[in-house]
Subunit: 427 residues, 4 copies
């Protein structure tokens, strides 16, 4: 982790500017009738999980270009995750991915994490790749495969994930499958869906009573004609079918072009089936870019739905916030720190929405002032609030600058062997 002295030194350097900005924002918000301290408290209480796989450099089907100091195993990954949380004070939980992160000794893993102030969020199964030694291939599907033995193998893997998750303290399982088809005719849509539902029910049957099951939809990739859980409609059907503790997970990058994602979030809140998020950003497909880097207003509009639901005190409303990104051209630690901050930023902005005024505009069909009410909140520069929420519990006013000042990447690069570039999946 980062030497606390480095953080202190950097914060000291930045403190005067921060305090001036914070004071000015406080006065400004006061004029708007908002108490900045309350906002800081809420922001500080808002956290998001980071994905264990996110701290390694990602890649595409064309290539992967690793950076220096790539983590070698789940312990290295947790070390990196600990830095992210240390500096941002935003990411106290990690999402594991099995088998990539399969622990030899779950208790040791749990302790390793706890020592670093980390716990575990939803655990992710993987039936989209074949593992060495695996009996049956997922080339043509997993939970929805035509062969019952392959389905059974995939179900067993998910149950195994639950077991690992229990050992480390997770309370949710995320099921994303790559099942689908590349050509019209390849799969029978209804029979395939039936097989999927049957498999999911078997997983659900093994779900501990205090766990939640997240079903994640995706329009396409790696299947390029049809996907079994292609949209929130199918996700909702599946979650509804298997039981009360099954919910829908929304990955922001898994939709058709032009889709109004915040509205899907609202619909799922309405049905009581919103389980959580995989945050990221995208311009074309499932680009897995850093949250808020391409469409920050869209991110705000999604968080706005969450704050609206909190405000309405929807019962049992506790969506999981997780990041799912691929960091191909940046230092993954930096991208995750910035992304976590962007999600908090959107949350902070959403907290500033004058909801009484908004409701008044909505009831009176004052479309212009309704729009302006949201935009006013969005364009408020809440960076001082974010910085303060980090600073006051030992985080960094400027996480990226502090991280660079600490030289963490160079340190781990010296300890961890260089990784080789890879060719992606195309050949």
């Amino acid at each position: 982790m980062i030497e606390p002295g480095v953080i202190a030194q950097e914060n000291e350097r930045l403190l005067p500017g921060h305090e001036a900005d914070f004071a000015a924002l406080g006065e400004h918000l006061d004029r708007r009738g908002v108490d900045i301290a309350t906002v800081v408290d809420k922001v500080a209480a808002f956290s998001v999980a980071v994905p264990s796989w996110g701290v390694g450099t990602g890649g595409t089907r064309f290539a992967r270009f690793p950076g220096p100091g790539e983590p070698r195993d789940i312990y290295d990954k947790l070390d990196d995750c600990a830095v992210i949380h240390q500096l941002t004070q935003t990411t106290p939980r990690v999402s594991l991915h099995i088998p990539w992160d399969r622990p030899d000794d779950p208790a040791r893993l749990k302790a390793h994490a706890a020592e670093r102030g980390l716990g575990f969020d939803a655990i992710n199964s993987n039936t989209f790749q074949d593992q060495s030694g695996q009996l049956r291939s997922y080339k043509f599907g997993s939970l929805s495969h035509t062969d019952p033995r392959t389905r059974t193998q995939a179900v067993a893997h998910n149950l195994d994930c639950i077991e690992i998750g229990q050992a480390v303290g997770s309370t949710a399982l995320t099921v994303w499958i790559a099942d689908g088809s590349n050509f019209p005719g390849q799969s029978h849509f209804s029979r395939t869906f039936d097989r999927y539902l049957e498999s999911l029910s078997r997983i659900y049957a093994g779900l501990p009573s205090d766990w939640r099951l997240f079903v994640e939809h995706k329009l396409f990739e790696p299947a390029f004609y049809s996907t079994v859980i292609q949209d929130w409609g199918s996700s909702y059907l599946a979650a509804t079918r298997v039981g009360d503790r099954a919910f829908c997970l929304v990955d922001l990058g898994h939709h058709a072009p032009n889709t109004n994602i915040e509205m899907i979030v609202a619909r799922l809140i309405h049905t009581g089936k919103l389980g959580g998020f995989h945050f990221n950003d995208s311009k074309y497909g499932d680009d897995d870019l850093d949250a808020g880097s391409v469409s920050p207003y869209r991110l705000f509009l999604v968080l706005n739905e969450l704050v609206d639901a909190e405000d309405r005190a929807i019962p049992d409303f506790k969506p999981a916030h997780m990041i799912d990104q691929s960091h191909n051209v940046t230092d993954p630690i930096e991208s995750l720190m910035v992304s976590a901050s962007e999600i908090r930023r959107a949350y902070a902005q959403a907290l500033l929405v004058d909801r009484a005024a908004l409701a008044f505009c909505q009831d009176g069909n004052d479309a212009l002032l309704a729009s302006e009410t949201l935009k006013r909140a969005f364009r408020t520069d809440v960076e001082p609030i974010l910085a303060e929420a980090r600073r006051r519990t030992g985080g960094a006013i400027d996480p990226v600058a502090t991280y660079r000042a600490a030289g963490y990447r160079a340190t781990v690069a010296a300890a961890r062997p260089a990784a080789r570039s890879g060719g992606g999946g195309i050949i």
Copy 2:
């Protein structure tokens, strides 16, 4: 209607070629183990409804360019629809749109239609326009409007439509609303949806016991930020909420780019909630082009799901087949004749799919031969089957050529006054 002698004369001219083609196709299909006579029978039994508004020239927000002989009222429209059915033998029903087609005397309208061999399919309400003398405006919504009086007016209009529909012999109501928003914040997604559900329930309460209610989703237009029933997920929620006789209607042009529509059809069949179709084609948005003119394979894949469901003998499976198009640059009668034929063509092609072979490929994950099995059916030129199905009950071997030979357009142009070009909605 068209002078039967003209049809006879045209058919006589085309008969030798048709008979040769039909015989050759019969022999070819026989080699594939298919009895052409059975296919002709099924095709002849397949019908699709035409929309009353479709026989007038359509337009865009930029302009409308009427052609000669535009129908002046619902009686003129029925005359045009009668010609379409006479020549194609495919379109025995007409969908009315209220108030555009509000009859002074429903009994007379029903008789006028019956004399021309026509009946009535689902009736369409209109709460997306303000009618002269209307008390409350739909500018900001109808069934989901914030003002309960506007909602009540919109519900009453739908109940009125049912009454008219009962008088003329319809047994279904299609509810498409333009409700939505143009700006983030303008509408509260959940409260708006609640209001919509409440209104829809009131309409459903007035639905005769032998009627069906069709809920039609649309991604956008005329609302450009959000739509209340934006996709099949919301449509399904609504139809499920209000009752067993509520179903989802799929308009092929109402989806996000790249959406796999045939899979949505399969999902709705799976849930038992597929109500029917508005057939058309599109490249960009809700272009309302002639069915099969841009993506004939997509049309085939949709019909393939219907034939598959027929084959599996899904209980109570009787989706309504309707055309919904805007004919901006063609003679509307010609476009509707061609479109009805294209839908039948896709149905005929789907009947030729070797389903046993397809299931075998699907079970064995033979993606290539599965794809080829569909393509083989699709590329069979079934025109002789379509022509024969028309010809044997008095229709035309070549409807467009016969229509032109008959000079119908010139005849009605002489009787009906010229319509003025219009400026669309933008100014």
Copy 3:
């Protein structure tokens, strides 16, 4: 126009908050090494033209719902435009549209505008509608029509527009055509393009030596299969072919989904062929929503390219800034005031980009800090700068609030007769 006393009174009410915000922002920017006064000066010098047609309520093909006080003619429109400029101090020019705004007496029109502090920007021809009394229809095209007489009529109309423009003081002509096709096969792509180029050359031949010709591309609508000038590639070919004073106009809503518009802007700057903009925002198609209302970051990225080009002192770089929107659910005057402010906001944010730091990141492939550099500028709340730029020359600190306080809409509604709702173009 608005009573100056109302503006003064509103500004007085808002001044304390404004001064506090402005001072705080000045101090903040000073810490970032930016002089706020310089930014205010640049922002105050940045203007954008409003479209004459934008002050009337717009509509869709489904319906048009006018509001109270719709302008009856170009004089009413200029009155409304004058209010927009008076309050925002941002919109000193108006774009005319012929024949909608054809003046009986151009000199009188010019004087009427000048009295209100207004001049004229690019003039727009209209060959996408048929005017009453027009000899040849544009149903099947105008500048690219197969009939040379129709092309000649369309060319003559454009030359007529130039003449009017000269009389009122315009120095540019914008040519947007609706020519295209609805079906594969309807048009021969190359022959159609040749006819277009020949017509455009004839217009160019009549272009005064101090004028510019703007060619505007659009992917689709009202043609739904192909458009003659469908993208910037075709626009560039046309502008290059006809001459040095022909340029490409970019309407932000005229692109395929997912298109990187700011990159097209950069390419056109690179070729020296960027003529200007039609600003608006959109989520699905050519939605013509208020600038910055859906994707404010995209708007910023576009303006960022303009500021970058200014910074690099590209020779002869003077793109026209124009708004082109359809205000269907808001008071058009309010939408145009807000939109003009949003464009200025994006410009102000772009001025705050630390370009030396950005170039350093770009040269060093520091993708993360490059992204953060842009985002930091974007998230700066520049509202105090905008307000100050308006206030110091007599505009309103809060244009919408001041406009409402002044009761302008009620005043004109009393003087102008109510407009009837219309049915759009579909029937």
Copy 4:
């Protein structure tokens, strides 16, 4: 290669049906005034190149699932390509990819190919991956990299490709680069484009006088915010800038959603800059599916432009026809045989278009019959023509059935070691 006796035996089995179908089609076409023999001759003369990388199983960033008998090197790949050509008689040329196919001894490679009846089409450079031992990384670009040394390395690689190509008999180089950015701000659009143009000019300077240079555009992937050559506009600018022997290559999967690709083809033909194609099909992005498997009508419309250009005897019109696909779930040999046939099918259908009738409809704005003229050609089942063109020079009436009957895959699977599943690029 396949034992000729197997082909003879399979053809004998299928001959009676084929002869009956061929005779019937000949009679039918005769009634339409078309001589089938002429069409067969033209189809037989139409060929398409296969990509060397296409005979291996492809993958995605998530996983790659190899099949049995994966080719180990370029010699194995040529053996597989030879089978494809032997059975389809359609693919006499192979496109190499360097360094994947770098020959130890080009002369030996050329001879190996010639013995199997194969030659070489355009050669492909690869600067989107880092090769082991490579001095400078392409992580942040190649031809447009900020570091001149990296650009020089990339240019040298392309010149090396030309040298290899000359040795084996190629006469064209295809340059596709992955250069772009993942975040707004990461790259300066104009400076990056300038660097690209300069590098391309250096490659062009090394182009033999009888060679062509193909510039391939792509909207996104692996870069997810911007791509240097993102569309045909940028491709055209680049090809025009560097010289007369530089042309634009169109990959059907490299466009924004909804793009009218056949119109881009027409535009490039119009400018004289169409270099050729990478054929494939797609539903969502660059899905690289089998040609004609998702949108066969679109493929037809593209080929229709080529036949139209042939008909107009455009000077120097000789676009390269190449397949570029990723075969993830099928036997790659089967997919390539079917794809080559689909491209020929679309060509054959396009030959059947009654161009005089089409031109007549176009000139008279008969949109409906123009559309019908194309559709009539498209729906003609030309399989007998394709089969005859294959059969008469020793190919298979049914290539897939014959390939399976021959047991080629099992034979090579016995000789070639099993490949391991891979994890794609994401970790």
